[in-house]
């Protein structure tokens, strides 16, 4: 797969996730999030979990049969920082820590009156 096309896809994913239009989910792998689309599945992962600052990011594209058809694993900026931003957005979308806090607070308010 052409790296330019993957870059284009990465930008669309970033915009869509930032706008809340794309919902990522957790996977069986730590620091790996998945977006399921009709045409295939996209994974974004960070490899170094112990030192996130030194982490490497990868965007993996699978077709409907779960075959890897494209990969972007940039070592240098701006691709690396763009992918790092997408990773943070995907992580927030999947885990939604602030949303969970809001819902917990709301429920506590309801219960305690």
């Amino acid at each position: 797969m052409d790296p330019e096309s993957i870059r284009g896809l990465m930008m669309r994913l970033t915009n869509g996730t930032h706008a809340g239009k794309l919902k990522w989910e957790e996977t069986a792998e730590e620091e790996d999030f998945r977006l399921i689309l009709d045409a295939g599945i996209i994974h974004i992962r960070r490899t170094n979990q112990i030192r996130p600052d030194f982490g490497k990011y990868a965007l993996l594209i699978f077709n409907k049969n779960n075959t890897l058809v494209g990969r972007l694993q940039p070592e240098i900026d701006p691709d690396k920082s763009n992918l790092s931003r997408l990773f943070d957005l995907a992580r927030n979308s999947a885990l939604n820590p602030s949303g969970l806090l809001d819902r917990l607070e709301e429920e506590l308010k309801k219960r305690s009156g």
């Binding site: 989910e25 996977t27 069986a28 792998e29 399921i36 599945i41 699978f62 779960n66």
Partner: protein, 166 residues
């Protein structure tokens, strides 16, 4: 009865008999159509019921296989864990488009297929190496397998309550 009397009878009743005959034909045709529709509908119900039962059986097998992966992980029997995961994937792929499953359940099965792939890769890369640690699956993998069991249990519960309604 002479010939003219017969002809006179035909002349008098022919039209009425034709109209009555035509009416009976229409009614007969309608009755036939209704019967065919009822047989078709009954057959469809039987096929759907059998299909639902078969799906419930496949889900039960899947539950057993995923539980086996967890157990194999506890006992560190990695070839068995991989074998059960592969078998589970084959069933998951087969069921992903099943018409009896809800859209949400189909999506869960797609995610399950992807997660099983990750579990297999993890076992091959992290647990089957010669210098691999002698320990169970990682907590994240265990949680993922447990969540598969929950999803499958929910599907099974829905199918069972559907069968009881029938």
């Amino acid at each position: 009865m002479d010939k003219s009397a017969v002809m006179s009878f035909f002349d008098q009743w022919a039209n009425a008999a034709s109209v009555v005959g035509f009416g009976l034909t229409i009614i007969g045709f309608a009755v036939t159509l209704i019967t065919v529709w009822r047989i078709k509908s009954y057959t469809r119900n039987v096929v759907n019921t059998i299909s639902g039962h078969l799906l419930a059986v496949e889900i039960a097998i899947l539950l057993r296989l995923i539980s086996d992966v967890r157990e194999a992980g506890r006992e560190m029997l990695w070839p068995r864990a991989i074998d059960r995961s592969q078998q589970a994937r084959l069933i998951v792929v087969k069921l992903m488009g099943h018409p009896y499953l809800l859209q949400k359940e189909k999506e869960s099965l797609r995610a399950m297929n992807d997660d099983l792939r990750l579990v297999i890769q993890y076992i091959e890369n992290e647990r089957m190496k010669t210098d691999a640690p002698k320990e169970n699956l990682s907590d994240h993998k265990k949680r993922s397998l447990d969540s598969m069991v929950t999803i499958l249990g929910e599907i099974q519960g829905r199918l069972q309550s559907g069968t009881m309604e029938v």
